[in-house]
């Protein structure tokens, strides 16, 4: 499917929405209004939960904060609802920023549990504050008005609601396909991966959280001034899970899925209300929630992917149009050859009583390939994690280009110029090769949330694209940039990780057992690639235990055994060293 075709479909959808009030009855329009209002929240959740993997049960509370804020300001204060929108949005985003700041460091289900907690706390507050009408709520809220036109009838506010929904969809799509959007799509890969790319994972999570809250705030404002009445009920925990349900049924991570999910849930709820009394007389209210929860559970058991991703499988692939040629991204000046760039000075790391790394010192000089080898359990991987900041030092120091990295966060170390790969490949399997490599350019580009959402980033995006494509070609994967990373064989996935690391324009490339699990032919190709990188003056630190692979490739070797450094030297010396032979073979051979 070409881009113009997608635009055409979008245009038809907008036209259909535009003429709907002239075709449909007022009941259908009211239903569409609710769908639009719910869809805004669901789109926020699609970004937060579907893309970012942060499951929030508390969005209904955010909707409520904004609805109450605007309702209160426009009834008791008599101010314009537009001021109410500002108050609602600012208040909601501030609360979200505070809650996010406090809770977003929590992991997995702990984070979701905290959303239940504050969701409930906020919902209880609405019913207990006298100024907000306790459980009776606030009535006779003024409608939104444009000049002298008051949006009272459902067909009037309909256009406002759907204009906002369309804008939200466009902004969300742009955002997802921008630099920050790619970072958001990486959150599900875990913090270690995200931070290794020079991305501040916490900041991305916080921003996603505030964006979702902002959408909820707009939804709450529309709700308050459409129904002209607010009470605590629609903002309670039950509605929180209904929003989650909309986002998940539509398709976790799909923006359009937010609208589809909101439509399905709203229509379904309506028809359940219509038809249940026919089946079970007098018990419909109770059965409604039962039927609804049961359907949701069934959905989660059988079709977790959601509707839009399922339908998308049957549609033709969207055509990829590469961006125009652009200025290359600026490169950093590499240090002159032979200079010490990484200095490990009596590094110590303890895990309780176990000393995994014991007083290890070595240096990496620019332009060389240094091999760090040792038998299983020697402490190589721990050393690796100390250098990249994934683990903190218990003693000693690690300095990169003269600056200590001991108290720096992982993403700061990555930004300073250390790019890494992983022993167990960490790629985004559902993103294309080019998108995976584009992630590497994150520290070299600047586009933020707003510029990304408003598409003010075209030049930079084109430059980054060219850089990523160049790196793909450099490692030999340039022929199919739009393949999904998950479809590659393991050997190519490792090479793709190297391309991603290269896209960061690093000073030092640290590879964690890159030859593990590769076939002989793949190992030879990998060695060839690393040699070509060295001839481009890149410095490489290789953690490996495949002796054959290391011996023919590296300039110098550091050998570790039982957490300590055994010896250091050129491959020839190491090969004839009695201590190394003992460590590897158990006795002097």
């Amino acid at each position: 499917m070409r881009r113009s075709q997608i635009h055409l479909i979008g245009l038809i959808a907008v036209v259909c929405l535009g003429i709907a009030p002239y075709v449909l009855g007022s009941f259908s329009i009211t239903l569409l209004n609710y769908i639009g209002i719910y869809a805004l929240v669901a789109i926020g959740l699609a970004l937060l939960t579907g893309v970012g993997g942060i499951v929030s049960f508390g969005q209904a509370a955010f909707v409520g904060v904004s609805a109450y804020a605007s309702a209160w300001l426009s009834t008791t204060g008599g101010y314009s609802p537009w001021l109410g929108l500002i108050l609602g949005a600012v208040l909601t985003c501030s609360i979200a920023a505070f809650l996010g700041f406090v809770t977003l460091r929590l992991k997995g289900h702990f984070l979701s549990l905290s959303t239940i907690a504050w969701g409930l706390a906020i919902a209880y507050m609405f019913g207990n504050i006298e100024g907000l009408g306790n459980y009776n709520g606030i009535a006779s809220i003024p409608p939104i008005s444009f000049g002298s036109i008051e949006l009272i009838r459902s067909t009037q506010i309909y256009y406002l609601i759907w204009a906002i929904v369309i804008i939200a969809v466009l902004l969300a799509y742009n955002l997802l396909n921008s630099r920050v959007g790619r970072a958001m799509r990486t959150l599900r890969g875990g913090d270690t991966l995200v931070e290794s790319l020079g991305i501040n994972a916490f900041w991305i999570k916080l921003a996603s959280f505030i964006i979702a809250a902002l959408l909820a705030a707009v939804s709450g404002w529309l709700y308050a001034h459409m129904s002209r009445f607010v009470s605590p009920t629609p903002f309670e925990a039950g509605m929180g899970i209904e929003y989650l349900m909309m986002a998940m049924i539509g398709g976790a991570g799909s923006i359009i899925g937010g609208i589809v999910g909101a439509a399905i849930v709203t229509v379904l709820k309506n028809s359940i209300q219509d038809y249940l009394p026919l089946i079970a007389k007098g018990a419909s209210g109770q059965l409604e929630i039962v039927a609804f929860s049961a359907l949701f559970i069934l959905f989660l058991q059988r079709a977790r992917q959601g509707i839009v991703p399922y339908v998308a499988k049957f549609l033709p692939e969207p055509a990829h149009e590469p961006p125009p040629p652009a200025e290359p991204l600026p490169r950093r000046t590499q240090p002159p050859p032979g200079q010490t760039i990484l200095k490990v000075d009596s590094a110590v790391r303890r895990f309780g009583g176990l000393i995994a790394v014991n007083e290890v010192s070595f240096e990496v000089r620019s332009g060389e390939i240094l091999g760090l080898i040792g038998p299983n359990g020697a402490g190589k991987s721990t050393m690796f994690n100390l250098i990249t900041g994934a683990l903190k030092l218990s003693g000693g120091g690690v300095a990169f280009e003269g600056a200590s990295v001991a108290d720096k966060r992982q993403y700061q170390i990555a930004r300073a110029g250390i790019a890494r790969t992983f022993q167990h490949v960490k790629l985004r399997p559902r993103m294309t090769l080019i998108d995976n490599v584009l992630l590497g350019t994150y520290p070299r580009t600047k586009t933020g949330f707003w510029r990304g959402a408003l598409r003010l980033n075209k030049d930079e995006e084109a430059s980054a694209y060219q850089e990523a494509l160049a790196q793909l070609k450099r490692v030999g994967l340039g022929d199919k940039p739009y393949e999904l990373a998950g479809n590659l064989p393991l050997g190519s996935q490792r090479v793709l990780e190297i391309a991603r690391a290269l896209a960061a324009d690093p000073v030092l490339l640290v590879l964690d057992e890159p030859a593990a699990g590769l076939r002989r032919q793949e190992k030879l190709q990998l060695a060839e690639l690393l040699r070509s990188l060295r001839s481009d003056h890149l410095t490489i630190l290789l953690v490996e235990h495949d002796m054959d692979f290391v011996m023919g490739l590296v300039d110098r070797i550091v050998v570790m055994d039982f957490g300590s450094k055994l010896c250091e030297g050129e491959p020839k010396e190491i090969r004839s060293d009695a201590r190394v032979q003992e460590a590897y073979l158990g006795a002097v051979a």
Partner: protein, 347 residues
């Protein structure tokens, strides 16, 4: 606040906390064995109270209908899955455990009601009716996704809670109930009145905690449960079926929740939807224990009870706001205390 009031609030808080201890320990038990954060646990407690109230007045409790409905559904799910696996020999067992056994309990209780049995028998009847519910729900709802992420199980669990609230209204109606106190005993220590009910609650919490400890440390079934909690795959290799361990955990947990429901019914008026708050507050206690440690959970649950008691004295409208807001600092403290581990990656 005078020391007298503080003492009364303290006693009240400990009694409330003891109720939460029972529910919280059940929650932790189920979480460690099955990785399900079983939010509907409070509902089980509330349903027990409603069942007992119905039995006290000689009515047929809604639990019977609920039990039979769930048993039929679970049997359907189990038999379908067995037929699909072409495992026809297991079908008679499935019919016995999932259909005949719950139906027999329901029938027995139904036949006993007109005989107006004494209180201890009514208590046993209420517990017998409530025990199979959680295991049946496990079969219907959680078993098909037993290998999903904790997060998926949590979402399902929250949805299940809402389904149960609806079912509760359907089967028990909207009226609140308060049962007769189990004991009319009163005593005074240092000027503070202690009711028999309060003492009973605290004693029950202690007794059941100790029994659970003995069960885990000195019986083979208990040890197999602990093994499953520590490592499902490892336990499976040792011939332990995680599904069966899960059923045992749900039964034990339901017993705890049921007892707490019986104990709280004379103290608080219980509605069909009261369970949510009981469950969530117990859950706050469980999180203080890190969802892993039983003594930690007990201390946490008592702390929540005391906090709630003092909060309701200061501002009764905001007591729930205060209790749930507390969860956030606790979660942060817990996640800081948690050991560094590779995060769950889900696609």
């Amino acid at each position: 606040m005078t020391p007298d009031i503080a003492a009364i609030l303290g006693v009240d808080g400990i009694a409330t906390g003891a109720i939460y201890v029972l529910v919280a320990i059940g929650t932790v038990l189920i979480f460690t064995v099955t990785r399900v954060i079983f939010i509907p646990f409070g509902d089980i407690a509330a349903f027990t109270a409603l069942t007992l109230a119905a039995l006290d007045t000689g009515q047929v409790p809604g639990t019977i209908g609920l039990l039979v409905a769930l048993a039929c559904l679970a049997t359907l799910v189990e038999v379908t899955s067995l037929v699909r696996k072409q495992d026809y020999r297991e079908i008679p067992y499935a019919l016995f455990y999932y259909l005949a056994l719950p139906a027999a309990i329901a029938l027995a209780v139904w036949l006993l009601i007109p005989l107006k049995p004494p209180l201890p028998v009514r208590l046993a009847m209420a517990l017998l009716l409530i025990l199979p519910i959680a295991p049946l729900l496990d079969r219907i709802v959680f078993r098909p996704i037993a290998d999903g992420t904790v997060l998926l199980l949590l979402i399902v669990s929250v949805a299940l809670h809402f389904a149960l609230v609806g079912l509760g209204l359907l089967f028990f109606g909207p009226e609140g109930v308060r049962t007769e106190p189990l004991s009319s005993f009163h005593m005074e220590i240092a000027g503070i009145m202690l009711s028999g009910q309060t003492i009973l609650i605290v004693v029950a919490a202690i007794v059941f905690s100790v029994l659970l400890y003995l069960f885990f440390d000195f019986t083979l079934v208990g040890k197999s449960l602990r093994a499953t909690a520590i490592n499902r795959t490892g336990a499976r290799l040792m011939g332990i079926r995680p599904a069966r361990a899960g059923t045992v955990a749900y039964l034990l947990g339901s017993l705890m929740a049921g007892v707490s429901g019986i104990l709280i019914a004379p103290v608080n008026t219980i509605f069909y939807d009261s369970g949510f708050l009981i469950g969530l507050k117990a859950f706050v206690g469980a999180i203080i224990g890190g969802l892993a440690s039983y003594p930690g959970t007990a201390i946490g649950a008592v702390f929540v009870g005391i906090l709630e008691s003092f909060a309701s004295f200061q501002s009764s409208a905001f007591k729930d706001v205060i209790v749930f807001s507390m969860l956030i600092p606790i979660l942060i403290w817990r996640s800081l205390a948690a050991l560094h581990s590779e995060e769950e990656v889900d696609e």
